[in-house]
Symmetry: C2
């Protein structure tokens, strides 16, 4: 029979070759490990939800992109982020959860965006959120970016900056102006500053009826530069004129002070008064994270404080703070930049076992002992010539091949070939385990990203 269908993967859907997938898994493992180390629960909500639940908020740009369909009588939609399912989950399980409720979720979400390079229709988001019952300490707003700092550091990233602002501060500032435009409208324009520049922002504000005097004041305010201490000191000049502003300034001071206390160096965080986040959902601290050498890719990790996680599902007040990494896009970008460390997560095995006799019992026995020591050992069972076996070891980038011929078996030994150097030595099984464990431990110290080689 001849085949009938041309195999293909949908455009906008990431599907990696085995070696790339190893790198992706290494990234995901780091995120899981760091998030877990801060006591976040893993969460796994369905990819399909009732449309009425998923679209409770309704309207907006997102709705057009949603994968929505009916099956039987049910109107279904695939989740487009992890925040709405979290809101549903917390409202639904309110009585069973302990607050503050800390959860992380690394899962696929779906948006039928226009297909373009580096943009995905199916992509992973990696979210952490801390949700309070009625109230939540502002310190959590400093811990969240500190966790992101530690996550990025554990990945091997160095040249990034977590930029922090506070929407109360911005709102308060806008209330000081003569313009009576709602602060939210202003912030939606300010939020575009990175993309369109100050001149266009000024134009848009003018069209909305903001006076030139106000535009100058706004421009002067949001483009302030300086260290955290300098900016905080400068902002003190406005204190006492607007209550919301003062509250925002207090929060910004607290968050940046704790960020330092949490061990985040100032080269990796700063105050950026231009960050507004378009979403009205956020009510206080907001974050964006930029790759210093690649500002053009925009924020790779964003979030903030919100007052009402689940207002569409419950009357309970559930304030929280969260941040989201667009993992699939980040992975794509890091890969495009050549940031991945080729030495880390480079193979599916620590050793490839090559039996040279018909009797496989030595190979089986050796492999089992290696696995008992926590090593990854694959036996090559195919009856191929030695050359073909070694070619396979090369292709899967096995760091070592363990050769078990008649001589080795007779002496209860194994010949370990270092595939990088070509060196081949005979060992007892337990000596071999030590060699392999030492090599695996050395690899485990490597970060999956090796940014420095490229950026410096």
């Amino acid at each position: 029979m001849s085949y009938t269908v041309k195999p293909r993967t949908l455009s906008g859907f990431m599907e990696l070759l085995p070696e790339k997938q190893l790198q992706f898994e290494a990234v995901r493992d780091v995120l899981t490990r760091v998030y877990s180390s801060y006591g976040f629960y893993p969460l796994d909500t369905p990819i399909l939800e009732a449309s009425e639940v998923l679209l409770a908020k309704g309207g907006g740009e997102t709705e057009k992109q949603i994968y929505r369909f009916t099956k039987g009588d049910t109107d279904l939609a695939m989740r487009f982020d992890l925040t709405v399912p979290l809101a549903k989950y917390v409202a639904l399980n309110y009585g069973s959860l302990s607050f503050p409720f800390r959860r992380f979720q690394i899962g696929k979400v779906y948006r039928g965006e226009r297909a373009q390079k580096g943009r995905y229709r199916e992509f992973y988001q990696a979210d952490i959120d801390i949700i309070g019952d009625g109230e939540l300490s502002v310190v959590n707003e400093a811990e969240i970016p500190a966790i992101i700092y530690n996550t990025f550091k554990a990945l091997g990233l160095r040249r990034f900056k977590i930029r922090v602002n506070n929407r109360k501060l911005l709102s308060g500032f806008f209330q000081m102006l003569e313009s009576s435009l709602p602060a939210q409208d202003m912030m939606r324009v300010i939020d575009k500053l990175d993309k369109i520049g100050m001149e266009k922002v000024a134009e848009e504000l003018q069209k909305m009826g903001v006076s030139q005097a106000d535009i100058d004041l706004i421009g002067g305010f949001i483009t302030r530069q300086g260290t955290v201490a300098e900016l905080l000191a400068g902002l003190e000049d406005y204190r006492g004129r607007n209550e919301l502003f003062d509250l925002g300034l207090d929060e910004l001071g607290t968050v940046t002070r704790y960020l330092g206390a949490f061990g985040v160096p100032e080269e990796n965080f700063g105050i950026d008064l231009t960050i507004a986040r378009g979403l009205d959902y956020y009510t206080g601290t907001v974050y964006e994270t930029t790759m210093l050498d690649h500002p053009e890719i925009g924020s790779v990790c964003s979030g903030g404080r919100y007052d009402n996680l689940a207002e569409y599902y419950t009357n309970k007040k559930l304030p929280g703070v969260g941040i989201s990494i667009g993992l699939t896009r980040l992975f794509y970008v890091l890969d495009e930049m050549g940031y991945f460390n080729k030495e880390a997560a480079s193979s599916n095995v620590d050793v490839l076992v090559l039996p040279m006799t018909d009797d496989l019992s030595a190979a089986v026995n050796f492999a089992r002992q290696m696995r008992e020591q926590g090593l990854r050992a694959q036996i090559y069972y195919e009856g191929k010539k030695f050359k073909a076996k070694m070619a396979y070891a090369d292709k899967i980038k096995a760091p070592y091949a363990a050769i078990l011929g008649e001589d080795e078996i007779a002496q209860n030994q194994v010949a370990l070939k270092n595939m990088a150097t070509g060196e081949q030595l005979s060992f007892s099984y337990s000596e071999a385990a030590d060699v392999l464990k030492a090599a695996a431990a050395e690899k485990a110290l490597l970060t999956i990203i090796n940014e420095v080689d490229h950026a410096e």
Copy 2:
């Protein structure tokens, strides 16, 4: 504003409470660890595929259950298993893969089955497959169930049996009969034996025109009982009458011999001549796995050898062997049976840090040091009374609370309260790390399943 939408999760979609999710993740971690230790690549294919690709094989019971819809001009379907996407992947990336290609995938699949207790519409499958290019050694057919044995053992399961058969053996046997019915049709009936019993199987065969003499022969053949050695010896009586039968018998002998060599004790595997697997896809060795104390739940892990993984996508001959765990259903069943070990994976933290002063720096410092030691430490930031803090520690089942009051801080110490015994002692930070690490290491030795307590 009052809420507008009642939060709910679709029926047939598993969504776990945080503590249950910890258990699920622990199960998934064991699978990932064991599969990886045998050199399987992780794989992650899209959940959505083009319908024409996913349904290349067409027809069948499955097609009715599929979540299929159009978006724009594209006819899309959600994957209903992990085998079809694997076939597509291997055909598509044939030139980039190294064969034998070993991959595992733990992912969600979708079937719009009739909703009923313990049956899910969104569920995880956990698959391993080994695929050859043109050929693949029969030894792989023994390694696959050996991996399942080690996986189940690592989970803590003991009372299970991997039942092995060979479709060549069955086909060959059917060819020896006077009936000229295709072996495949016979096997589809035999496959129902577990569910409907021998009497009904006999009735069905009779309806299909099989003679009473043949039915007696079939019944006598498939219901043979005994040890592996006894059954193999008995089957030798038929040798020399049918080539396919002889080949199947050789394979069954090899597979069972290697299963022993791979360290699988005979209490956990056996030959079962009733196993036919309905799917024509399988061509040789077939497996099913039964919980000995709960045969009523059927096979929890099934698979077998196939000759043509991707015949719908390529003319390349890609033989392989694979097995699949219905993970969501297995999790549900184990939970219903009360098999989960309440002591294992019981909390999101190793220690909950309770600052008793306004200055949080000691808590931050202590928690950071604990995380650097690989421990999971959460700081409780909320300004609640001591009693409320301890109640939270209880609710999240923290094994220890680390209390940092003025006295402790003054002495560079921390008070560790063992939440199970109530004992509270003061330690230096490094002593505390040792206590917590010892407790975490003890927990790590526990298997997530504690079958023995219940079954014995």
